[in-house]
Symmetry: C2
Subunit: 250 residues, 2 copies
Amino acid sequence: MNKLTTTEELLLQRRTVRKFRNQSLTLEQYTRLMEVARQAPTSNFLQQCTIIHVTDMHLREQIRAICQQQYVGANGDLIVFVVDLYRNHRICAQLGLADDALNSTDAFIQGMEDTLIAAQSVVMAAEAMGLGCVYLGSIQNDIRSIIQMLHLPKLTFPLVALQVGVPDQMPELKPRMPLNLRSFENSYQDVFDLNHFAQYDEIVQTYYDLRDSSKHVDPFTQQVASKLSHTCFKRNDILKVIQDQGLCQY
Amino acid sequence: MNKLTTTEELLLQRRTVRKFRNQSLTLEQYTRLMEVARQAPTSNFLQQCTIIHVTDMHLREQIRAICQQQYVGANGDLIVFVVDLYRNHRICAQLGLADDALNSTDAFIQGMEDTLIAAQSVVMAAEAMGLGCVYLGSIQNDIRSIIQMLHLPKLTFPLVALQVGVPDQMPELKPRMPLNLRSFENSYQDVFDLNHFAQYDEIVQTYYDLRDSSKHVDPFTQQVASKLSHTCFKRNDILKVIQDQGLCQY
C-alpha cells in the first residue's frame, strides 16, 4: 500500500478552527467552495440543498446571539446549509403534478443527506485551500428565528452552518474513541462496559483544549453524561418546527 | 489565487461508481477508511456514529434484495453507517445518570450529522486512494429488516450505506444545477420559474448515463416530477421506525 495522499492526510489531521484572522474569503475562494458544494453527491439526483451566504453584519450579529459563540459571524465567512424541498415543489407545481412525497420523512432524510454531504465537501475543500472551519449546530438553539431571518419558505429547514476563514490558531488534534468501540463486522456488538472506555478517558483528559485551557478537561464518559443530563439539549421543539415547515408529516 | 489542489480536483471531478472489479479492499485500505471516519468532525464531541462492515455473503445478499440494485454487496465492500445514540446511553446508565435528551429530535439530528459527515469523509478518502463509491440510500426500502439483520439496538438507526471498491467504469461527470438556483446571499430567493431551468434541462438531456445508456434521459424538471409523483417515495413508515427505535420522541 502506498503512502498517504494529501487528501487522506488532511482528513486524518483535521482540526476544528474557532479563531480566524480578520479577513473575509475572496470571491474566488467562496465561488470555489460553492462549486464543490454543487458537485457533491446528491440522493436520487434531487439536489435538495440550498446555501445562504450571510454577509449582512446585522444578520450576522443576530445569528451570533442565537449561537452564543463569539466567533459566529465574526472574522471569516458565515454559510448556512439548508435542506430544500421547496425548489422541487415549485417545479412540480408549475408542471401541474402532485408532490405529496415531499412531506415524507423519507424525502426529508434525503434532503438532510444532500445538505450534510455538501457541507462536509465544503469543509474539506476549504481545508485543502488552507482555510479553517467550525460547524455551527448551534443555529438549532432558535431555529424558528433563523428561518424567519433568512426568509426560508415552507419545505425548507436550516440544518447546519459553517464559519470559514483564515486560521489564527492551530488546535491540538482531538483524540477520538478507539475503533473497536465504533466499528463492527456484520453485527452490532454491545461492548460498552465502562472499563473499555478507561484508557480513552485518560487520553481525553490529557488533551489540551484551546477553548478552555485554564479548565480541567473531563474524561469522555463524564462529558457524555454531563452533556446528556443538562444544558446542551434544551432544544425541545425542533421536531415541531420541522413539521410546521411541512416536512416529516409521516 | 493558486491552482486547484488535488483535494479540490477530486471534489470537483467526483463521480458515483456503480461497477467494481471483483476485488475486496485490503485490510490496510479498510482500516485507513475507518481511521478517517473516526477522525471526522463530531457534533458536541458525542461521536454518535457506528460503522458496520458487512462481509457475510448471506447478509450481503439479503441487503442486495432490499436495495434492489445488483451492485449492492457484490464486488467491493459494503459498509453501513449507523446513527448511534445507544453507546452514550449505556455510558450514562452505568454512571447512574439520566439521559432523556437522547430521545429528542435534537440529539437524533446531531447523530445524523456525525453519521453523514463520517460517510462523506470516507467517500473522499476512498476516492483519494483510487477507489470508487456509491451511496446506498436504498437500505431505507426496508429499514426495519436492516435493523434486525445487523442486530441494531434501540437508539440506533442505519442511515446510509456505501459500496466501495476498485472502479470498473468511468462515468461522465453528471451535470448539476447552476449555482444561481442553489446559492443565495442573506435571504432565500424564490427564483424557480420553470424558464430558469430550461438551459439546465437541456444539459441534463445530453448527459450520457451509464446506468441507462439505451434510454432517453429526461430533463431535470421532468425527473423531479416523475420521482416525486410515484415509485421512489414508497417508504412511508420511516418516521415510525425511527420513533420505534426510541428516537425523535419530541
